[in-house]
Amino acid sequence: MDGGAVTLLPLPNYPRTVIRLRGFLTVAVRYTAVTNRPYVSRSMTTVPTERITPPATAPEPKRRWRLGGWRLLRGPNPADRLYRVVLTGLALVLPLLLVVLVAELTVSAWPAVRRFGPAFLWTSVWDPVAEVYGAAPMIFGTLASSLLALLIAVPLALGTAIFLTEFAPGWLRRPVAFLVELLAAIPSVVYGLWGIFVLIPFLRSYVVPPLKAALGWTPFFSGVFYGNSLLAGGIILAIMIVPYIAAVGREVLQAVPSSQREAAVGMGATRWEAVWTVIVPYGRAGLIGAVILGLGRALGETMAVTMLIGNRHDIGLSVLQPAYTMAAAIANEFTEATTDLYLAALFEVGLVLFVITVTVNALARLLIWRVARGTAVGSRAL
């Protein structure tokens, strides 16, 4: 270490041409010549700054892509690039799949679309022999069974959600929540099995007679009950969608800030009033989203419905009568479709079902997202 004070030499004056040429080499040579000798300064001073800025060593990040910090790190490392390429390739499978799915549905359905046009949606005739197909009964049955399911499921599911978030004591919460979620794990065909051998006899013996006695004069409960009916299908659908509505409803209600709760109680509201007049309205959009999500699930449900609904191409107001849904029709008739047009008609039914379900689900997600931005609410309700 040398004893005297050593001052750093000032940086050389870069000529403008050097900067314009972005001549690293020149700068490097000049600067290295200045500093490349071993020394230590006992007092170091700052280098006087000058007007001239040295050339940038890191490229200005491209503004085209959203800057994602380390995500943008491409690096000269080939392994990094390979990794990113592989992951991107895998990720592209999904969009590709969707495009192919939609294209395939449309192409396969095209003969029927061209033949029947929009009348397909409101024609009631479904005659494979005469090759006339109309999906109105199926569309009606799908909507009717789903709405009936919602009527039953919404009070059950929202009641459960409210109970679990607001009223249930801690020790009760987890077991009950677990049990309700378990409902979602039961396979559809098992629901159908239970429906045929337990639910329908139960309805026939204990539920329908009183209903008919009380409300048999209304168009909703007219006719003879044979078992397989819109009612049975609606009830089983209701049980199936309760866990989805309840799960999302719970998350929505839990996302309500506790300050709201406290404010309501602080104003003298009873527990129920706090819930009903403050918390539920706060999460209203999300709860509606949850309900619509349940609707989306119900629309697409196949096995349990086809086992219970009677599978008859008929439009009727009575819930005691058999009906048909789009999914059930495809399930039943796809392997029996003898002609190309028959098959195309079924594909068209599938296309209509797809469009309706996707729209309903998109609406649900929009509502849920608006209530709970950024959190994972709703993503578990798969």
Partner: protein, 281 residues
């Protein structure tokens, strides 16, 4: 206490009771279903049930051996195809998914999650059954894989996102290249969460029937060939439950109990894996 206030308190208590009852009804449904499964199915579970194949219609006895094996093969096939794609997509979304492609992939995953499984079934039929000329377990596996990928992708993304950024930085500062931090450090930390997501997805598709109706079709005989139709528990239950014979109905309950048991075991396994997790939460 004023009358009005009393009325409000009573109303509150009543409504509390009401929502409690509603929850009770929901749980009751579950209990009834599981209870009936046990009651009606347990008595039929014997050794021959698990080891024999179905007998011709009308006869008694027989088992679901082909269906159990078939479920295993088709679910295994679906997992083989669906899990890598799903996990890879999830990793992509977590690592690079801030841009437009990421948004698109998430949107598509949501759309596919909401698609009825029967639509996926006819899609698989067009692409795999029609060209091949016959039904096959492979087609069934692919259909189930298509169902699995969006589920697994979303849960993987969520789990990887939970890993704190500081962990990534620590690894990068050590001189780990980016791909290695992503795999060895980040994904490894989120691993139990990812596995949970996979198990949940597998449990879901194990019970699926609709997409298999026109892909795997079902098979009355024992078959392990991937290019031939194959039976699964869910298909077996459907055929037996909707059939005319009492014997079939009895077997359907037993098969449903087995299927439900399988799904429950997988779900509980998934929950157990979550409990083992440390560091990420």
């Amino acid at each position: 206490m004023s009358a009005r206030r009393l009325r409000r308190r009573v109303a509150s208590a009543l409504m509390t009771g009401l929502v409690g009852i509603l929850s009770f009804v929901a749980v009751l449904a579950l209990v009834l279903i599981l209870g009936d499964l046990m009651a009606k199915g347990a008595s039929s579970l014997d050794w021959s049930f698990f080891t024999k194949n179905p007998v011709p219609a009308g006869e008694t006895g027989g088992g679901v051996a082909n269906a159990i094996v078939g479920t295993g093969i088709i679910v295994g096939l679906a997992a083989l195809i669906g899990l890598p794609v799903g996990i890879g997509t999830g990793l992509y979304l977590a690592e690079y998914g801030a841009g437009r492609l990421g948004w698109l992939v998430r949107f598509v995953a949501d759309v596919l999650n909401g698609t009825p499984s029967i639509v996926i079934g006819i899609f698989a039929w067009t692409w795999l059954v029609k060209p091949m000329g016959h039904f096959s377990a492979l087609a069934g596996g692919v259909a189930l894989a298509v169902l699995m990928v969006p589920m697994v992708a979303r849960t993987t993304e969520e789990m990887v996102r939970l890993v704190p950024h500081s962990l990534r930085e620590a690894a990068l500062a050590l001189g780990y290249p980016h791909w290695r931090t992503s795999l060895r450090i980040v994904a490894r930390t989120a691993l139990s969460g990812i596995v949970t997501g996979c198990l949940v997805a597998v449990a879901r598709i194990a019970g699926e029937t609709a997409p298999l109706l026109f892909t795997a079709l079902g098979n009355l005989n024992f078959s392990t060939s991937v290019t031939q139709p194959m039976q699964t528990l869910s298909l077996q239950i459907y055929v037996y439950a909707t059939g005319p014979f009492d014997e079939w109905h009895r077997l359907a309950w037993a098969a449903a109990l087995v299927l439900m048991g399988l799904v429950l075991v997988l779900s509980l396994l998934a929950r157990w894996a979550t409990r083992q997790r440390y560091g990420a939460r």
